[in-house]
Protein backbone atom coordinates (compact mmCIF):
# COMPACT_ATOMS: atom_id res chain seq x y z
CA UNK A 1 0.00 0.00 0.00
CA UNK A 2 1.25 3.42 -0.89
CA UNK A 3 1.96 5.94 1.84
CA UNK A 4 -0.29 8.55 0.24
CA UNK A 5 -3.11 7.48 -2.04
CA UNK A 6 -5.10 10.04 -3.98
CA UNK A 7 -8.16 8.61 -5.72
CA UNK A 8 -10.56 10.46 -8.06
CA UNK A 9 -9.90 13.77 -6.35
CA UNK A 10 -12.21 16.56 -7.48
CA UNK A 11 -11.94 20.20 -6.37
CA UNK A 12 -14.11 23.13 -7.39
CA UNK A 13 -13.60 26.86 -7.09
CA UNK A 14 -17.20 28.02 -7.20
CA UNK A 15 -18.51 26.74 -10.50
CA UNK A 16 -15.06 26.11 -11.94
CA UNK A 17 -13.89 22.53 -11.91
CA UNK A 18 -10.21 22.98 -11.02
CA UNK A 19 -9.26 19.36 -10.40
CA UNK A 20 -10.99 16.71 -12.49
CA UNK A 21 -10.77 13.29 -10.83
CA UNK A 22 -7.06 12.82 -10.49
CA UNK A 23 -5.44 9.77 -8.90
CA UNK A 24 -1.85 9.20 -7.88
CA UNK A 25 0.29 7.42 -5.31
CA UNK A 26 3.29 8.39 -3.24
CA UNK A 27 5.30 5.48 -1.84
CA UNK A 28 7.42 5.67 1.26
CA UNK A 29 10.92 7.03 0.64
CA UNK A 30 10.13 8.39 -2.82
CA UNK A 31 10.40 11.89 -4.22
CA UNK A 32 7.33 12.50 -6.36
CA UNK A 33 7.04 15.56 -8.58
CA UNK A 34 3.81 17.10 -9.81
CA UNK A 35 4.70 19.27 -12.77
CA UNK A 36 2.65 21.41 -15.07
CA UNK A 37 2.08 24.93 -16.34
CA UNK A 38 0.44 27.84 -14.54
CA UNK A 39 -3.14 27.09 -13.58
CA UNK A 40 -2.83 23.37 -14.09
CA UNK A 41 -4.02 22.74 -10.53
CA UNK A 42 -0.78 21.78 -8.81
CA UNK A 43 -1.14 24.07 -5.80
CA UNK A 44 -4.86 23.30 -5.57
CA UNK A 45 -4.02 19.62 -5.31
CA UNK A 46 -1.52 20.23 -2.53
CA UNK A 47 -3.82 22.51 -0.58
CA UNK A 48 -6.56 19.91 -0.74
CA UNK A 49 -4.21 17.23 0.55
CA UNK A 50 -3.03 19.38 3.46
CA UNK A 51 -6.59 20.38 4.34
CA UNK A 52 -6.48 24.06 3.40
CA UNK A 53 -9.11 23.52 0.71
CA UNK A 54 -12.24 21.38 0.67
CA UNK A 55 -12.60 18.68 -1.96
CA UNK A 56 -15.79 18.03 -3.86
CA UNK A 57 -15.24 14.34 -4.23
CA UNK A 58 -12.76 11.48 -4.15
CA UNK A 59 -10.45 10.41 -1.38
CA UNK A 60 -6.97 11.12 -0.05
CA UNK A 61 -5.58 8.40 2.20
CA UNK A 62 -2.42 8.88 4.24
CA UNK A 63 -1.21 5.61 5.76
CA UNK A 64 -4.73 4.30 5.35
CA UNK A 65 -6.45 7.23 7.06
CA UNK A 66 -8.77 9.57 5.19
CA UNK A 67 -7.43 13.13 5.06
CA UNK A 68 -10.30 14.96 3.42
CA UNK A 69 -12.35 15.12 6.60
CA UNK A 70 -9.34 15.87 8.82
CA UNK A 71 -8.64 19.49 9.91
CA UNK A 72 -5.20 20.88 8.91
CA UNK A 73 -3.69 20.82 12.41
CA UNK A 74 -4.52 17.12 12.80
CA UNK A 75 -2.87 16.39 9.45
CA UNK A 76 0.39 17.91 10.71
CA UNK A 77 0.14 15.74 13.83
CA UNK A 78 -0.23 12.66 11.60
CA UNK A 79 3.21 13.37 10.15
CA UNK A 80 2.66 15.47 7.06
CA UNK A 81 4.49 18.79 6.91
CA UNK A 82 3.63 21.50 4.43
CA UNK A 83 6.05 24.03 2.95
CA UNK A 84 3.62 26.62 1.59
CA UNK A 85 4.14 28.49 -1.64
CA UNK A 86 5.79 31.89 -1.56
CA UNK A 87 7.86 31.42 1.60
CA UNK A 88 5.22 31.94 4.23
CA UNK A 89 7.42 32.54 7.23
CA UNK A 90 6.72 34.60 10.35
CA UNK A 91 8.34 37.84 9.21
CA UNK A 92 8.56 39.51 12.63
CA UNK A 93 10.13 36.59 14.48
CA UNK A 94 13.76 35.56 14.57
CA UNK A 95 14.99 32.60 12.54
CA UNK A 96 15.30 30.57 15.71
CA UNK A 97 11.74 31.31 16.79
CA UNK A 98 10.42 30.50 13.33
CA UNK A 99 12.05 27.10 13.62
CA UNK A 100 10.65 26.47 17.10
CA UNK A 101 7.19 27.39 15.81
CA UNK A 102 7.65 24.51 13.37
CA UNK A 103 7.79 22.17 16.35
CA UNK A 104 4.56 23.60 17.78
CA UNK A 105 2.78 20.24 17.88
CA UNK A 106 5.69 18.51 19.65
CA UNK A 107 6.11 18.51 23.39
CA UNK A 108 9.36 16.52 23.80
CA UNK A 109 11.94 19.21 24.51
CA UNK A 110 14.96 16.98 24.06
CA UNK A 111 13.64 15.68 20.76
CA UNK A 112 13.04 19.21 19.51
CA UNK A 113 16.63 20.21 20.36
CA UNK A 114 17.87 17.16 18.49
CA UNK A 115 15.80 17.99 15.40
CA UNK A 116 16.95 21.60 15.60
CA UNK A 117 20.57 20.46 15.54
CA UNK A 118 19.82 18.31 12.49
CA UNK A 119 18.11 21.21 10.72
CA UNK A 120 21.07 23.49 11.45
CA UNK A 121 23.33 20.80 10.04
CA UNK A 122 21.31 20.73 6.82
CA UNK A 123 21.05 24.52 6.65
CA UNK A 124 24.26 25.96 8.11
CA UNK A 125 23.18 29.36 6.87
CA UNK A 126 20.18 29.30 9.22
CA UNK A 127 22.42 28.64 12.19
CA UNK A 128 24.63 31.58 11.24
CA UNK A 129 21.56 33.80 11.16
CA UNK A 130 19.49 32.28 13.93
CA UNK A 131 19.06 35.60 15.76
CA UNK A 132 18.20 37.60 12.67
CA UNK A 133 14.60 38.71 12.09
CA UNK A 134 13.23 36.38 9.42
CA UNK A 135 11.76 39.16 7.26
CA UNK A 136 15.26 40.52 6.62
CA UNK A 137 16.56 37.28 5.10
CA UNK A 138 17.05 37.00 1.36
CA UNK A 139 14.47 35.13 -0.70
CA UNK A 140 16.55 31.99 -0.87
CA UNK A 141 17.25 32.02 2.84
CA UNK A 142 13.56 32.48 3.56
CA UNK A 143 12.82 29.41 1.45
CA UNK A 144 15.43 27.45 3.43
CA UNK A 145 13.76 28.66 6.62
CA UNK A 146 10.35 27.51 5.42
CA UNK A 147 11.83 24.10 4.60
CA UNK A 148 13.68 23.91 7.89
CA UNK A 149 10.53 24.85 9.78
CA UNK A 150 8.61 22.02 8.09
CA UNK A 151 11.31 19.53 9.10
CA UNK A 152 11.03 20.65 12.74
CA UNK A 153 7.78 18.71 13.16
CA UNK A 154 9.74 15.54 12.32
CA UNK A 155 7.42 14.59 9.46
CA UNK A 156 7.09 11.32 7.58
CA UNK A 157 6.29 13.22 4.41
CA UNK A 158 7.07 16.78 3.36
CA UNK A 159 4.77 18.45 0.88
CA UNK A 160 6.52 21.30 -0.96
CA UNK A 161 4.85 23.95 -3.04
CA UNK A 162 7.09 25.60 -5.66
CA UNK A 163 10.27 25.70 -3.55
CA UNK A 164 12.32 27.20 -6.38
CA UNK A 165 9.88 29.98 -7.27
CA UNK A 166 11.53 33.38 -7.62
CA UNK A 167 14.99 32.26 -6.55
CA UNK A 168 18.35 32.90 -8.13
CA UNK A 169 19.83 29.93 -10.09
CA UNK A 170 22.37 29.46 -7.32
CA UNK A 171 19.68 29.00 -4.70
CA UNK A 172 17.57 26.84 -7.01
CA UNK A 173 20.45 24.39 -7.15
CA UNK A 174 20.80 24.52 -3.39
CA UNK A 175 17.10 23.94 -2.77
CA UNK A 176 17.10 20.83 -4.95
CA UNK A 177 20.25 19.56 -3.31
CA UNK A 178 18.50 19.83 0.04
CA UNK A 179 15.45 17.98 -1.24
CA UNK A 180 17.76 15.14 -2.19
CA UNK A 181 19.27 15.22 1.29
CA UNK A 182 15.80 15.09 2.85
CA UNK A 183 15.09 12.02 0.76
CA UNK A 184 18.41 10.47 1.77
CA UNK A 185 17.48 10.88 5.45
CA UNK A 186 14.38 8.73 4.82
CA UNK A 187 11.65 11.36 4.53
CA UNK A 188 9.20 11.12 1.65
CA UNK A 189 8.76 14.23 -0.49
CA UNK A 190 5.82 15.35 -2.61
CA UNK A 191 6.99 18.23 -4.75
CA UNK A 192 5.03 20.66 -6.86
CA UNK A 193 7.26 22.49 -9.31
CA UNK A 194 7.20 24.63 -12.41
CA UNK A 195 10.88 24.07 -12.96
CA UNK A 196 10.23 20.73 -14.67
CA UNK A 197 13.82 20.04 -15.65
CA UNK A 198 15.20 20.32 -12.13
CA UNK A 199 12.25 18.50 -10.61
CA UNK A 200 12.57 15.56 -12.98
CA UNK A 201 16.30 15.34 -12.28
CA UNK A 202 15.80 14.60 -8.60
CA UNK A 203 12.38 12.89 -8.59
CA UNK A 204 11.80 9.15 -8.68
CA UNK A 205 8.47 9.40 -10.41
CA UNK A 206 6.45 12.30 -11.76
CA UNK A 207 2.92 13.21 -12.80
CA UNK A 208 2.21 15.84 -15.44
CA UNK A 209 -0.89 17.95 -14.75
CA UNK A 210 -2.72 19.85 -17.44
CA UNK A 211 -5.89 21.88 -16.69
CA UNK A 212 -6.86 19.70 -13.77
CA UNK A 213 -6.08 16.30 -15.29
CA UNK A 214 -3.09 14.01 -15.15
CA UNK A 215 -1.99 13.62 -18.76
CA UNK A 216 1.24 11.71 -18.25
CA UNK A 217 2.90 9.76 -15.50
CA UNK A 218 5.85 7.48 -15.00
CA UNK A 219 9.51 7.32 -14.05
CA UNK A 220 11.12 10.73 -13.98
CA UNK A 221 13.91 9.54 -16.26
CA UNK A 222 11.44 8.30 -18.87
CA UNK A 223 9.43 11.50 -18.72
CA UNK A 224 12.55 13.54 -19.27
CA UNK A 225 13.01 11.78 -22.56
CA UNK A 226 9.35 11.96 -23.53
CA UNK A 227 8.90 14.10 -26.61
CA UNK A 228 5.74 15.90 -25.53
CA UNK A 229 7.22 16.73 -22.11
CA UNK A 230 10.40 17.94 -23.74
CA UNK A 231 8.44 20.18 -26.03
CA UNK A 232 5.98 21.55 -23.49
CA UNK A 233 8.04 21.88 -20.32
CA UNK A 234 11.73 21.48 -21.01
CA UNK A 235 11.91 23.95 -23.86
CA UNK A 236 13.75 21.63 -26.21
Amino acid sequence: MAMLEVRDLEVNYGAINAIKKISFDVNEGEVIALIGANGAGKTTTLHTITGLLKAKGGSVKFEGKELLKTPPHKIVEMGMAHVPEGRRIFQQLSVYKNLTMGAFIRKDKAGIEETLAKVYEKFPRLEERKKQIAGTLSGGEQQMLAMGRALMSNPKIVVMDEPSMGLSPLFVGEVFKIIEEIKASGTTVLLVEQNAKKALEIADRAYVLETGKIVLSGDAKDLMNDDSVKKAYLGE
Binding site: T50, P72, P84, R88, Q92, F104, K131
Partner: protein, 366 residues
Protein backbone atom coordinates in the same frame (compact mmCIF):
# COMPACT_ATOMS: atom_id res chain seq x y z
CA UNK B 1 20.63 30.69 27.10
CA UNK B 2 18.93 32.65 24.39
CA UNK B 3 15.43 31.78 25.54
CA UNK B 4 16.36 32.90 29.03
CA UNK B 5 17.37 36.32 27.78
CA UNK B 6 14.21 36.80 25.76
CA UNK B 7 12.20 35.77 28.81
CA UNK B 8 13.96 38.45 30.76
CA UNK B 9 13.16 41.02 28.15
CA UNK B 10 9.44 40.27 28.03
CA UNK B 11 8.99 39.86 31.75
CA UNK B 12 10.93 43.08 32.28
CA UNK B 13 8.51 44.79 29.93
CA UNK B 14 5.57 43.30 31.81
CA UNK B 15 6.92 44.45 35.15
CA UNK B 16 7.21 48.00 33.84
CA UNK B 17 3.51 47.80 32.96
CA UNK B 18 2.60 46.46 36.41
CA UNK B 19 4.84 49.11 37.96
CA UNK B 20 3.05 51.93 36.14
CA UNK B 21 -0.35 50.70 37.27
CA UNK B 22 0.91 50.21 40.83
CA UNK B 23 2.36 53.72 40.91
CA UNK B 24 -0.92 55.20 39.70
CA UNK B 25 -2.79 53.15 42.29
CA UNK B 26 -0.56 54.33 45.15
CA UNK B 27 -0.87 57.93 43.99
CA UNK B 28 -4.65 57.69 43.83
CA UNK B 29 -4.89 55.87 47.16
CA UNK B 30 -2.79 58.50 48.95
CA UNK B 31 -4.60 61.34 47.23
CA UNK B 32 -8.04 60.01 48.11
CA UNK B 33 -7.33 58.71 51.60
CA UNK B 34 -5.76 61.98 52.71
CA UNK B 35 -8.95 63.72 51.62
CA UNK B 36 -7.23 65.95 49.11
CA UNK B 37 -9.16 64.61 46.14
CA UNK B 38 -12.07 66.51 44.67
CA UNK B 39 -15.46 64.95 44.25
CA UNK B 40 -14.84 64.79 40.51
CA UNK B 41 -11.57 62.93 40.97
CA UNK B 42 -13.16 60.34 43.22
CA UNK B 43 -16.09 59.92 40.87
CA UNK B 44 -13.78 59.29 37.93
CA UNK B 45 -11.82 56.48 39.53
CA UNK B 46 -14.21 53.62 38.74
CA UNK B 47 -15.01 54.73 35.16
CA UNK B 48 -11.27 54.93 34.50
CA UNK B 49 -10.74 51.43 35.85
CA UNK B 50 -13.67 50.14 33.77
CA UNK B 51 -12.23 51.69 30.62
CA UNK B 52 -8.73 50.38 31.29
CA UNK B 53 -10.05 46.83 31.67
CA UNK B 54 -12.13 47.23 28.50
CA UNK B 55 -9.20 48.61 26.52
CA UNK B 56 -6.77 45.90 27.63
CA UNK B 57 -9.26 43.13 26.92
CA UNK B 58 -10.19 44.56 23.51
CA UNK B 59 -6.50 44.81 22.69
CA UNK B 60 -6.32 41.03 23.05
CA UNK B 61 -8.81 40.68 20.18
CA UNK B 62 -7.63 43.58 18.05
CA UNK B 63 -3.90 43.64 18.72
CA UNK B 64 -2.93 40.06 19.50
CA UNK B 65 -5.52 38.09 17.54
CA UNK B 66 -5.70 40.69 14.77
CA UNK B 67 -9.49 40.59 14.37
CA UNK B 68 -11.64 43.69 14.54
CA UNK B 69 -14.41 43.60 17.15
CA UNK B 70 -16.95 46.42 17.19
CA UNK B 71 -19.18 45.03 19.91
CA UNK B 72 -17.13 45.19 23.06
CA UNK B 73 -19.84 47.24 24.79
CA UNK B 74 -22.27 44.39 24.07
CA UNK B 75 -20.24 41.96 26.16
CA UNK B 76 -19.92 44.62 28.82
CA UNK B 77 -23.72 44.96 28.77
CA UNK B 78 -24.18 41.21 29.29
CA UNK B 79 -21.74 41.27 32.21
CA UNK B 80 -23.31 44.38 33.74
CA UNK B 81 -26.82 42.97 33.75
CA UNK B 82 -25.82 39.45 34.80
CA UNK B 83 -23.66 40.76 37.65
CA UNK B 84 -26.26 43.24 38.84
CA UNK B 85 -29.00 40.64 38.68
CA UNK B 86 -26.93 38.27 40.78
CA UNK B 87 -26.11 40.95 43.34
CA UNK B 88 -29.75 41.97 43.71
CA UNK B 89 -30.88 38.39 44.12
CA UNK B 90 -28.32 37.61 46.78
CA UNK B 91 -28.18 40.93 48.58
CA UNK B 92 -30.08 39.61 51.57
CA UNK B 93 -28.57 36.16 51.75
CA UNK B 94 -24.92 37.01 51.07
CA UNK B 95 -24.28 40.02 53.24
CA UNK B 96 -20.49 39.96 52.99
CA UNK B 97 -19.34 42.09 50.07
CA UNK B 98 -16.06 40.14 50.01
CA UNK B 99 -17.95 37.04 48.89
CA UNK B 100 -20.82 38.54 46.94
CA UNK B 101 -18.85 40.97 44.79
CA UNK B 102 -16.19 38.54 43.51
CA UNK B 103 -18.98 36.07 42.75
CA UNK B 104 -20.77 38.80 40.79
CA UNK B 105 -17.57 39.39 38.79
CA UNK B 106 -17.22 35.72 38.00
CA UNK B 107 -20.88 35.39 37.01
CA UNK B 108 -20.81 38.56 34.90
CA UNK B 109 -17.57 37.49 33.23
CA UNK B 110 -18.74 33.95 32.55
CA UNK B 111 -22.04 35.14 31.07
CA UNK B 112 -20.18 37.46 28.71
CA UNK B 113 -17.68 34.71 27.87
CA UNK B 114 -20.52 32.29 27.12
CA UNK B 115 -22.16 34.80 24.78
CA UNK B 116 -18.72 35.41 23.26
CA UNK B 117 -18.42 31.69 22.62
CA UNK B 118 -21.84 31.60 20.92
CA UNK B 119 -20.90 34.53 18.70
CA UNK B 120 -17.37 33.27 18.08
CA UNK B 121 -18.03 29.64 17.14
CA UNK B 122 -19.68 30.39 13.79
CA UNK B 123 -17.89 33.66 13.00
CA UNK B 124 -14.27 32.84 13.83
CA UNK B 125 -14.28 29.92 11.41
CA UNK B 126 -14.44 32.44 8.58
CA UNK B 127 -11.67 34.54 7.12
CA UNK B 128 -12.08 38.25 6.60
CA UNK B 129 -13.94 41.03 8.35
CA UNK B 130 -16.99 39.07 9.40
CA UNK B 131 -16.24 39.40 13.09
CA UNK B 132 -16.51 43.19 12.87
CA UNK B 133 -19.87 42.97 11.11
CA UNK B 134 -21.32 40.36 13.44
CA UNK B 135 -20.13 41.97 16.68
CA UNK B 136 -21.51 45.29 15.50
CA UNK B 137 -24.93 43.70 15.00
CA UNK B 138 -24.62 41.70 18.20
CA UNK B 139 -24.05 44.84 20.25
CA UNK B 140 -27.27 46.37 18.90
CA UNK B 141 -29.23 43.15 19.43
CA UNK B 142 -28.13 42.80 23.05
CA UNK B 143 -28.92 46.44 23.69
CA UNK B 144 -32.44 46.04 22.32
CA UNK B 145 -33.10 42.78 24.15
CA UNK B 146 -32.00 44.32 27.43
CA UNK B 147 -34.09 47.38 26.68
CA UNK B 148 -37.21 45.20 26.51
CA UNK B 149 -36.44 42.63 29.16
CA UNK B 150 -38.53 42.62 32.32
CA UNK B 151 -37.73 40.43 35.28
CA UNK B 152 -39.68 40.63 38.52
CA UNK B 153 -40.15 38.35 41.45
CA UNK B 154 -42.92 37.72 43.91
CA UNK B 155 -43.92 34.94 46.27
CA UNK B 156 -44.43 32.54 43.36
CA UNK B 157 -40.90 32.98 42.04
CA UNK B 158 -39.35 34.80 39.09
CA UNK B 159 -41.32 36.18 36.15
CA UNK B 160 -39.72 36.98 32.80
CA UNK B 161 -41.21 39.01 29.99
CA UNK B 162 -40.00 40.51 26.72
CA UNK B 163 -41.81 43.73 25.88
CA UNK B 164 -44.00 45.90 28.06
CA UNK B 165 -47.23 44.30 26.78
CA UNK B 166 -46.26 40.84 27.94
CA UNK B 167 -45.07 42.28 31.22
CA UNK B 168 -48.40 43.96 31.98
CA UNK B 169 -50.24 40.69 31.44
CA UNK B 170 -48.41 38.92 34.24
CA UNK B 171 -50.50 38.66 37.41
CA UNK B 172 -48.35 39.47 40.39
CA UNK B 173 -48.85 38.90 44.03
CA UNK B 174 -48.94 42.62 44.86
CA UNK B 175 -47.62 42.38 48.40
CA UNK B 176 -44.33 40.66 47.58
CA UNK B 177 -43.72 42.06 44.08
CA UNK B 178 -40.20 43.29 43.45
CA UNK B 179 -39.06 44.49 40.03
CA UNK B 180 -35.49 43.47 39.22
CA UNK B 181 -35.01 44.49 35.59
CA UNK B 182 -37.48 47.05 34.36
CA UNK B 183 -37.14 47.19 30.57
CA UNK B 184 -35.96 50.55 29.30
CA UNK B 185 -35.65 51.79 32.88
CA UNK B 186 -32.91 49.24 33.32
CA UNK B 187 -31.81 47.75 36.57
CA UNK B 188 -32.17 49.86 39.69
CA UNK B 189 -30.91 49.35 43.18
CA UNK B 190 -27.69 47.45 42.55
CA UNK B 191 -25.55 47.63 45.69
CA UNK B 192 -22.85 50.26 45.24
CA UNK B 193 -19.94 47.95 45.86
CA UNK B 194 -17.48 49.33 43.31
CA UNK B 195 -14.62 51.52 44.41
CA UNK B 196 -11.15 52.26 43.15
CA UNK B 197 -9.68 49.47 45.23
CA UNK B 198 -11.72 46.81 43.43
CA UNK B 199 -11.07 48.59 40.16
CA UNK B 200 -7.30 48.44 40.48
CA UNK B 201 -7.39 44.88 41.75
CA UNK B 202 -9.28 43.92 38.60
CA UNK B 203 -6.89 45.85 36.37
CA UNK B 204 -4.06 43.82 37.87
CA UNK B 205 -5.88 40.54 37.40
CA UNK B 206 -6.73 41.45 33.80
CA UNK B 207 -3.14 42.44 33.03
CA UNK B 208 -1.64 39.38 34.68
CA UNK B 209 -3.96 37.00 32.84
CA UNK B 210 -3.64 38.68 29.45
CA UNK B 211 0.11 39.37 29.54
CA UNK B 212 0.82 35.81 30.66
CA UNK B 213 -1.47 34.47 27.96
CA UNK B 214 0.34 36.53 25.32
CA UNK B 215 3.73 35.20 26.39
CA UNK B 216 2.61 31.60 26.57
CA UNK B 217 2.60 28.86 23.95
CA UNK B 218 -1.07 29.63 23.30
CA UNK B 219 -0.26 33.33 22.92
CA UNK B 220 2.44 32.62 20.36
CA UNK B 221 0.00 30.48 18.43
CA UNK B 222 -2.57 33.30 18.49
CA UNK B 223 -0.02 35.84 17.24
CA UNK B 224 1.19 33.48 14.53
CA UNK B 225 -2.38 33.34 13.17
CA UNK B 226 -2.36 37.13 13.02
CA UNK B 227 1.05 37.26 11.31
CA UNK B 228 0.56 34.54 8.73
CA UNK B 229 -2.49 32.35 8.72
CA UNK B 230 -1.24 29.86 6.14
CA UNK B 231 2.11 29.44 7.85
CA UNK B 232 0.31 28.94 11.16
CA UNK B 233 -1.92 26.30 9.62
CA UNK B 234 1.05 24.58 8.02
CA UNK B 235 2.85 24.13 11.36
CA UNK B 236 -0.23 22.49 12.83
CA UNK B 237 -1.91 25.23 14.82
CA UNK B 238 -5.65 24.78 15.37
CA UNK B 239 -6.80 28.13 14.00
CA UNK B 240 -10.41 28.13 15.19
CA UNK B 241 -9.56 26.95 18.70
CA UNK B 242 -6.89 29.59 19.28
CA UNK B 243 -9.03 32.37 17.83
CA UNK B 244 -11.87 31.33 20.14
CA UNK B 245 -9.59 31.27 23.19
CA UNK B 246 -8.50 34.86 22.59
CA UNK B 247 -11.99 36.11 21.78
CA UNK B 248 -13.69 34.43 24.74
CA UNK B 249 -11.11 35.68 27.22
CA UNK B 250 -11.53 39.15 25.76
CA UNK B 251 -15.31 38.88 26.22
CA UNK B 252 -14.88 37.59 29.77
CA UNK B 253 -12.98 40.68 30.87
CA UNK B 254 -15.43 42.95 29.07
CA UNK B 255 -18.12 41.29 31.21
CA UNK B 256 -16.05 41.86 34.35
CA UNK B 257 -15.70 45.52 33.43
CA UNK B 258 -19.47 45.63 33.00
CA UNK B 259 -19.99 44.32 36.54
CA UNK B 260 -17.63 46.93 37.93
CA UNK B 261 -19.49 49.58 35.95
CA UNK B 262 -22.98 48.53 37.04
CA UNK B 263 -22.06 48.34 40.73
CA UNK B 264 -20.84 51.91 40.58
CA UNK B 265 -24.20 53.40 39.61
CA UNK B 266 -27.57 53.18 41.27
CA UNK B 267 -29.23 52.38 37.97
CA UNK B 268 -27.95 50.97 34.70
CA UNK B 269 -29.76 51.30 31.40
CA UNK B 270 -29.01 49.25 28.30
CA UNK B 271 -28.81 52.19 25.89
CA UNK B 272 -25.51 53.20 27.50
CA UNK B 273 -23.84 50.15 25.92
CA UNK B 274 -24.19 51.30 22.35
CA UNK B 275 -22.04 51.46 19.25
CA UNK B 276 -20.40 54.69 20.44
CA UNK B 277 -19.08 53.05 23.57
CA UNK B 278 -17.57 50.19 21.54
CA UNK B 279 -15.86 52.69 19.27
CA UNK B 280 -14.59 54.67 22.26
CA UNK B 281 -12.88 51.54 23.58
CA UNK B 282 -11.44 50.89 20.12
CA UNK B 283 -10.07 54.45 20.13
CA UNK B 284 -8.22 53.70 23.38
CA UNK B 285 -6.70 50.60 21.80
CA UNK B 286 -5.69 52.26 18.55
CA UNK B 287 -4.24 55.36 20.17
CA UNK B 288 -2.43 53.39 22.86
CA UNK B 289 -0.84 51.28 20.17
CA UNK B 290 -2.33 48.10 18.75
CA UNK B 291 -0.85 45.13 20.57
CA UNK B 292 0.63 47.22 23.38
CA UNK B 293 -1.13 46.58 26.68
CA UNK B 294 0.75 49.36 28.44
CA UNK B 295 -0.34 51.80 25.74
CA UNK B 296 -3.96 50.77 26.20
CA UNK B 297 -3.77 51.41 29.94
CA UNK B 298 -2.28 54.87 29.48
CA UNK B 299 -4.57 55.89 26.62
CA UNK B 300 -7.67 54.75 28.52
CA UNK B 301 -6.65 56.74 31.60
CA UNK B 302 -5.82 59.94 29.73
CA UNK B 303 -8.79 59.88 27.39
CA UNK B 304 -11.27 59.12 30.16
CA UNK B 305 -9.94 61.66 32.61
CA UNK B 306 -9.13 64.52 30.27
CA UNK B 307 -12.60 65.57 29.06
CA UNK B 308 -13.84 65.59 32.65
CA UNK B 309 -10.94 67.60 34.05
CA UNK B 310 -11.18 70.11 31.23
CA UNK B 311 -14.75 70.72 32.36
CA UNK B 312 -13.36 72.00 35.64
CA UNK B 313 -10.91 74.52 34.27
CA UNK B 314 -12.82 77.79 34.07
CA UNK B 315 -12.44 79.29 30.62
CA UNK B 316 -11.45 76.06 28.92
CA UNK B 317 -14.71 74.26 29.49
CA UNK B 318 -16.20 75.66 26.28
CA UNK B 319 -13.32 74.27 24.26
CA UNK B 320 -13.32 70.94 26.06
CA UNK B 321 -14.15 68.74 23.09
CA UNK B 322 -11.88 70.79 20.85
CA UNK B 323 -8.90 70.11 23.09
CA UNK B 324 -9.91 66.46 23.29
CA UNK B 325 -9.87 66.24 19.50
CA UNK B 326 -6.50 67.95 19.25
CA UNK B 327 -5.12 65.52 21.79
CA UNK B 328 -6.43 62.58 19.78
CA UNK B 329 -4.69 63.88 16.67
CA UNK B 330 -1.48 64.59 18.57
CA UNK B 331 -1.41 61.08 20.04
CA UNK B 332 -1.91 59.62 16.60
CA UNK B 333 0.96 61.64 15.16
CA UNK B 334 3.30 60.93 18.05
CA UNK B 335 2.59 57.23 17.85
CA UNK B 336 3.59 57.08 14.21
CA UNK B 337 6.51 59.47 14.31
CA UNK B 338 9.79 57.72 13.55
CA UNK B 339 11.91 60.62 14.67
CA UNK B 340 10.24 60.81 18.08
CA UNK B 341 10.39 57.06 18.35
CA UNK B 342 14.14 57.07 17.76
CA UNK B 343 14.57 59.88 20.26
CA UNK B 344 12.76 57.97 23.01
CA UNK B 345 14.71 54.86 22.12
CA UNK B 346 17.92 56.87 22.41
CA UNK B 347 16.98 58.23 25.82
CA UNK B 348 15.99 54.78 27.01
CA UNK B 349 19.20 53.40 25.54
CA UNK B 350 21.28 55.55 27.86
CA UNK B 351 19.69 53.87 30.85
CA UNK B 352 20.56 50.48 29.46
CA UNK B 353 24.22 51.17 28.64
CA UNK B 354 25.53 48.58 31.07
CA UNK B 355 23.29 45.89 29.65
CA UNK B 356 24.13 46.47 26.00
CA UNK B 357 25.87 43.13 25.72
CA UNK B 358 22.64 41.29 26.39
CA UNK B 359 20.81 39.96 23.41
CA UNK B 360 17.51 41.77 23.02
CA UNK B 361 14.98 40.16 20.80
CA UNK B 362 11.93 42.03 19.67
CA UNK B 363 8.77 40.34 20.82
CA UNK B 364 6.27 42.74 19.32
CA UNK B 365 4.37 42.95 22.60
CA UNK B 366 4.96 45.06 25.64
Amino acid sequence: MKTLNTMNKTSKNNFITYGIVLAIFIFCAVYIETDMATFLFKGLMVPICVNVILAVSLNLTVGILGELSLGHAGFMCVGAFAGSFFSMMTQETLTSVWIRFPLAFIIGGLSAAFIGLLVGIPVLRLRGDYLAIVTLAFCEIIKNIMNNLYIAKDINGLHFAIGVGAYNEIEFDAASKQVLINGAMGITGTPNDSNYFWGFALIFITLIVILNLVNSRTGRAIMSIRDNRIAAESVGINITKHKLIAFVISAFFAGVAGVLYSHNLSSVIATKFDYNYSILVLVFVVLGGIGSMRGSVIAAIILTALPEFLRDIGNLSDYRMLIYAILLIAMMLINNNDYLHQMTQGVLGKFRLGKKSKKNEQEGVS
